[in-house]
Symmetry: C2
Subunit: 294 residues, 2 copies
């Protein structure tokens, strides 16, 4: 199967499970549930759960029992987008071709929708209804991997540095901190969670982590390149707005950024070579990250 | 030991553990860590972890092994205060006698400090460094209880309804939804988590839940009464500002509110009568909730 079909099929599976998860919000106020679903089903790539599925399958294990757990990666990613778009943070009006959450529901509800998605992600990870066949020890490991990647030592820390270094000179070290925490940490966790579900041993997990780090950084560099060279309609958000941010293009120039991107894709591909034919999808995803146009 | 000494001693134990938890934020950006600690150590009562300790001890079990887990209740409570105080939510300038988090650190950092505390709470609940002696099955139960109480079906849901019904007529049903979700859900979870740690069986857990519901609602009614009759300096925040909110005093009047408060304290006391002498601290806490002045 080619990657496009794989991504398409898995995206549908992920969206169906996310809908199942949302039906469990039975006593959630309607407007809150609407705001949460508005962003959750706004045509994102669902790349984080798909990475987890691919990593799990690369170890020869079906992802079926872990699907709800993997979907929490998308819930947390979505919350981070909602909070990042807020007026006092990045102040973005459009996302994925639509008004951002606070534009559609107001700031207060948008903040709460983010808080709701983040918290419910951990509820799903620990809810027997959704993880009946996940051993408690594995569930605890999932919570740890995801919370560690998403929290103050991970994504939130990266986001704060991103804000603090707006309109500032910055350094390559700062840039690396921002990118590796803001974006790469959660992509890395996605791969690791999938690999853990698949039963990866410690040494294998190291390779999965290296793969996750490489595509995570590649993903963010591509974002920086798209901000300069992308097509606004295809990307689905306002571009050429990162001039005041720490970006790869700003610190290294466009050519060196593209070279670094290629290197990272190569590194990712090599990191999963040990999986042989089973690692093919992960290899293809790495190449896709290096060639995406949205 | 009298209750004042008990609360004082346990508060110190909780604060020390919270400090231990904060020392694990080794690569968190300084300003983010400062904002998180600013609110975490701002002289709150730490009543949620103390309730968990008291419930655990009421079952005759030491709380030592669970202390870090219980402290996550305070981390989540603190995040909720930070987000509630934001300009687009309740727009409060002071909290516990000091400038609110966004007044001290700016809005963006305040939002991220809340996000950080919420996420790190789940990290601590699943981090072997902090819950080495907590069985994975119990850890998973803690995550579920807390996430369920804090999320869209609990605290966040209550907060959204609180916002939506500002400056509106409202009904007693709406009022009950807001109070039982915004405040009572987390107090109930605090008691339940402690009871689960203490090894409470299903039938006992029901009584602990009833106790938690009763003091949770009592706590919020007292808040409504204090807003009208309290001393601003003692309470530590601006009062007489809930005129536009759904409050017990608004829907029932001050006398009926005080009567309801008394009834709830009685109900709480009765719910833990089955514990005999071991339940004394929980009884005293219930009475304290009904008499607090801050």
């Amino acid at each position: 199967m080619d990657l496009a079909s794989y991504l398409h099929d898995k995206k549908i599976i992920v969206e169906n499970m996310l809908r199942d998860i949302c039906t469990s919000f039975t006593s959630t106020p309607g407007v809150l549930r609407n705001a949460m679903e508005y962003m959750l089903f706004s045509n994102g790539k669902k790349i984080r759960p798909i990475l987890a599925i691919a990593a799990c399958e690369a170890k020869g294990k079906s992802a079926d029992d872990f699907l709800a757990c993997f979907c929490t990666l998308e819930m947390i990613h979505t919350y981070s987008l909602i909070h990042d778009d807020l007026p006092c943070v990045d102040n973005d009006d459009t996302r994925r071709g639509r008004p951002t959450c606070h534009k559609a529901f107001g700031e207060a509800v948008a903040i709460m929708a983010g808080d709701g998605l983040l918290t419910e992600a951990f509820r799903v990870l620990s809810d027997p209804r959704f993880s009946e066949r996940v051993a408690p020890k594995i569930a605890r490991q999932f919570v740890f991997e995801i919370a560690h990647a998403a929290g103050a030592e991970g994504m939130v820390g990266g986001q704060v540095m991103d804000i603090l270094y707006e309109n500032k000179e910055g350094t390559k070290n700062i840039l690396h901190y921002i990118h590796s925490h803001k974006t790469a940490a959660m992509l890395r966790a996605s791969v690791r969670v999938g690999a853990i579900a698949g039963g990866a041993k410690a040494r294998e997990l190291k390779n999965f982590s290296r793969y996750g780090d490489a595509i995570g950084l590649a993903f963010q560099i591509m974002d920086d390149i798209l901000d300069v060279e992308g097509d606004e309609e295809t990307v689905g958000k306002k571009l050429k707005k990162d001039d005041n941010k720490q970006t790869y293009v700003k610190h290294y120039g466009i050519l060196a950024s593209k070279y670094k991107l290629e290197q990272l894709v190569d590194e990712a591909v090599k990191s999963v070579a040990f999986l042989g034919e089973n690692g093919r999808v992960l290899e293809d995803i790495a190449r896709f990250v290096g060639n995406r146009i949205s």
